[in-house]
Structure formats: structure tokens, C-alpha cells
Point group: C2
Chain length 324, copies 2
């Protein structure tokens, strides 16, 4: 009986490789900069990191149930085909599952990073014990995943979960996706920071400019969290606006899907109550009666390890169907 | 082996009772005005209509698999409890399932009318052959139902599917649900007709006023369809606006759920291409690439019989779990 799983998290910046036990605990891990490798070299780098961990921990290959990988891109889960990576150039229609299986000899499962994060949170994190959930990740873009009756729902073309592209206004700002008024066009990292920079230009007595040493380019979400924590009115107002936009998109999701829990993760969620308070207030004020009574809004729990933990869970959830 | 099912459709105006065979074909049907009966008298009226049909068609009770009922209200499907009816006063927390089972001796299943219509359309109508679908009904209100991997998804508090209460604009017109900017606040029957009346007042050379014989109260969706068919500019514009609002709400639903099909029914959908054209155009223009390639927008097929057909399907889908 296999007792371990290899979990891989391919990020825009770092790639993490870990050995986990069947209860989702990390036994050993390794990581490297993603951009050091291109295309097939990245696959080899992951395989050898995995081989290295296996050897160092004196584990036999038979003891490994399989290999799970989360990637920042659009994935055909069944075929293990990556259509493209958002932030890693050169990839297109890569048969990742097949390539890994032929190199490692391990049953391999590939899915996009938000789905993988959602699996991890549902099994070991903030979603534990819930059947119907929605995950939202706030970062460069806005990602989402939908869990229905305990299973990840991937949609008919593998692209379900795009909460970032729910419209907030029929005539809103242009979005990267080609539409206008999408949630992401308000709260995606650069859209949000540009909006802050604009407000700063108008002059406002805010400490943000000072914290950024007069370089608007150096304004980050972390800096805005510090400003808000120090009581800065503009920073607090901008976080409040962001929370309200997120809340408004979630009102639609909650009225439509009547989930038990909404899990919010990603770098920008680290600002904590500055976002969570207005999100919760907006939902309390605007969502339908039964729906808002049913739902909890919580922060993701697994942090940086969500990717490898979720990737291991991806193997556990799918190995049975794979073998039969 | 039972060969028949009783399907009941409790509408705001008419209540329909039918005997169907296991392939969803109506063998015999009866109907009466819902408001003629109050509370328990309505239950008795349904039971005796059902008994009458059974006798007339010389069917033994053993030949009947069960009784399915669709109602215009909020239902706890598991308990068969109706929290309230939207347009039938006097009902609250009615244990409809229990009452029918004790009167008729038949296994009884109760669900809300949009869920029931969706079941009918998925099995015998416009949704046949699809696994992931969303149903939308356009009438006095805007109803919705979500089908995930072939099963009706009811949500954690039995209230999933409220497409009518997805927000179109953060600062939109007030909606009956207490929120503002909801789809229903733009395209619900009275909201829509009031908007048309307002535009008429401004003077526009439209034939709508003439068709309504100068009585704005007499303007109906059917009248507006006739005006649009006759080439009336205002009527066509108003239908186009309605279609665009519906399309915008569906863009969010499509990006989130990546369904194969959206089925649109209800009285107002009868206006046909005046709505369907702008709905499809909006989705083609605004939804995400893979999502819009995956989805079809179709009209509901079962019309007036959708309720009893779906109610019979409700029995078929759930009788096995009920017996075990």
C-alpha cells in the first residue's frame, strides 16, 4: 500500500515540490525559481527535485501513490493537457500528464492552481466539513473555484469558476478579458493599485506617498495595509471600496449557488479585516435572506502550502477512477 | 411494476393534475383555478382530481409510482416542507409531503416550480442530452435553476438558482428582494412594463399607446411583441434593452458555471427573437472565450405542460432513494 504522494505547485515565481503523507502532512519539500527553466526543462527540473526528495527520504517508488500538479493556467483535467500558462511563456497545448507519466512512471494528475488550492482548503483547511463552497483568490488576477456537493466542479469546458469575470456594472472599466465592468477590472492587483495612484494624485493628505518614498510605482498591497493599520483615511477607503466590489460580486454568486462557505485566499486577502469587514457587511446588506443566513465568509488557512497540499489531494481524489 | 406517475403543477392561476406514463407522456389531465381553494382545501382538491383521473382511466393505485408536485414557492425538498407560496396567501411552513402521503397513500415529492420545470426540460425538452445547464424563467418574477453533472443543484438552504437576483449594477434600481440593481428589477414583468410606460409618456410616435387604446395599464408583454413585430421602434428598443440586461446577467453565470446550455422559458420568453437575439449577441460579445464557445442559448420546449412533466420526473429521479 502506497503511503506517500508527490505534490507540485508551479507558480509564476516559485515552483514547489513536496512529499506528503496520505493525511496531507508535508514530509519534505524543495523549491526553485520557475523562470530558470523553459518548457521541457521545467518538467525535468520538477522530476529531478521529486527524485531527489524520494532518495533523501529513503522512500521506494512503490510507496508513492501518484504525482499531483497545480499550474497557473487553463487545463483539460481529463487529458492532463495545459492549454496555456498565464505567466510562463512558451507553453501551449502541453500534454503535461503524459510527459510526467513517461518520465516518472507515476500516475499523474494536473489541474489549475485555484482548483488545486480549493481541494486543499476543502480537505484540510477553511472548507473542512462543508459540501458546497466557493473559493476566491485575490492576487494579480482574481481566481475562483466552485465545489458542489463535496466535488470540484470544473464545468463543461474545464473553465468554471471565473468569479473575477462576473460583471459588477454594465458600463464599467475595460477588463483584460475583453469585457467591461468585470470584478477583476476593479480589484485585480494593478487595476486596484492604479486606482489608488490616481486618488493620490488628487492630493489627499495620505501617508501612502511618504511610505512609498514618493515613488507611486512602489505602492503595493502590503504598503496599503500598513497605511490602513496606521489609520490612513485614503488607504482605509480604498480597501473598503475593494471589499464592497468583492461583496457585490459575491452577492450574485451567493444568490445563485447558496453555498455554505466562501473561502477567500491569495496575497491580497492577507490584508485581513480591511477587506473582510466590508465584504461581510455588503453581503449582510444585499444578499437574499436564506442565502445570507446559510453562508460563512472565511479566510483561506493553508497559505503558501495550499498548492502542494491540494496537489496531493488531487491524486487521492482521482486515483481510484484512474486505476479502474 | 408501477407504470404511471401523478404530476401536479400548482400555479398562481391554475392548478394542473395529470397522469403520465414513465416516458413522460401525459395520459390524462385535469385543471382548476387555484384561488378557488384555500390551504387544506387545495390539498383535497388536488387529491380528488387525482383520484378522479385514476378512476376514469381504470388504473389501480399499485400501478402508480408516486406523486410529484411543483409549487410557486420556497421548498425544503428533503422534508417536503413549503416555507411559503409567492402568490397564494395563507400558506406558511406547510408539510405538503406528509399531508399528501397520508391522504393519497402515494410516495410524494415536492419542489419549487422552476426546479420542476428544469427537470422536465432536461429529460424531455430543450436540455435533453446535456449535463450542465442553467434554466431561466421570465415572468412576473425571474426564476432560475442550476443543473450540475445531470443533477438538480438545490444549494445548502434549498434556495440555489436565484438568477433574478444577480446584480447588474452596483447602484441600480430598487428590487423587491431589498437589494438594488438586481436583474429582476430591470426585467421582471411590472418593472419592465413600467419602464415602457415611462418612455411612452415622453412621447415617441410609438404605436404601443394606440394598441393599448390609450390605457397604459393594458400594456402587456404580448402587446409589446405585436408592436415590435409591426416594426415599432420603441417596442423593439425596449425588448433589445431587456435582452441585453438578461445577457449581461447570463455572462456572469456563464463565466462562473461554464454550462453547455441555458434554457429560457416563462411567458415573456414567448416574444422569441426580440429577446433571444440581443441575449445571444450580448453573450457573444461579453462572455469569456472558452465559455461562450461551450454554451448554447435555447428556448424552453415543453410550454404549459412543463410543470406536470417535470413533477412526474421528480418522482422518477427520487423514488429509489426514498424506498431505500
Amino acid at each position: 500500500m502506497a503511503r506517500y504522494i508527490i505534490g507540485v505547485d508551479v507558480g509564476g515565481t516559485h515552483t514547489k515540490v513536496a512529499i506528503l503523507n496520505l493525511r496531507g502532512r508535508i514530509i519534505a519539500k524543495d523549491s526553485f525559481l520557475t523562470k530558470r527553466y523553459k518548457k521541457d526543462a521545467l518538467i525535468k527540473a520538477i522530476s529531478s527535485a521529486s527524485d531527489g526528495l524520494i532518495k533523501q527520504n529513503k522512500i521506494g517508488k512503490k510507496d508513492i501513490l501518484g504525482l499531483g500538479i497545480g499550474v497557473p493556467g487553463l487545463v483539460d483535467f481529463k487529458k492532463g493537457l495545459v492549454f496555456y500558462f498565464v505567466n510562463i511563456p512558451g507553453w501551449k497545448n502541453a500534454a503535461l500528464k503524459k510527459k510526467f507519466e513517461s518520465i516518472t512512471g507515476l500516475a499523474t494528475f494536473v489541474d489549475n492552481d485555484v482548483n488545486v488550492m480549493a481541494l486543499g482548503e476543502m480537505t484540510f483547511g477553511a472548507g473542512k466539513g462543508y459540501a458546497n463552497a466557493v473559493c476566491l483568490t485575490l492576487g494579480t488576477g482574481v481566481g475562483g473555484a466552485v465545489i458542489i456537493e463535496g466535488s470540484l466542479y470544473r464545468g463543461s469546458g474545464w473553465v468554471a469558476g471565473e468569479i473575477g469575470h462576473i460583471q459588477l456594472n454594465e458600463k464599467g472599466p475595460l477588463c483584460n478579458c475583453g469585457n467591461s465592468g468585470c470584478l477583476e477590472a476593479y480589484v485585480g492587483r494593478e487595476y486596484f493599485l492604479n486606482d489608488v495612484r490616481k486618488s493620490l494624485k488628487k492630493g489627499s493628505g495620505s501617508i501612502i506617498g511618504k511610505l512609498a518614498k514618493g515613488r507611486p510605482r512602489d505602492i503595493t498591497p502590503e504598503l496599503l495595509t500598513r497605511a490602513a493599520a496606521a489609520g490612513d483615511t485614503l488607504a482605509k477607503k480604498k480597501w473598503k471600496e475593494m471589499g464592497e466590489h468583492i461583496g457585490n460580486a459575491l452577492v450574485g454568486v451567493i444568490n445563485l449557488l447558496n453555498p455554505e462557505v466562501i473561502i477567500i485566499g491569495g496575497g491580497i486577502a492577507e490584508t485581513g479585516r480591511f477587506i473582510f469587514d466590508p465584504v461581510r457587511r455588503t453581503i449582510r446588506k444585499r444578499a437574499m435572506k436564506v442565502q445570507k443566513r446559510t453562508v460563512k465568509i472565511v479566510k483561506a488557512k493553508l497559505g503558501n502550502d495550499a498548492g502542494v497540499i491540494g496537489a496531493a489531494e488531487l491524486v487521492k481524489k482521482n486515483i481510484k477512477a484512474y486505476r479502474s
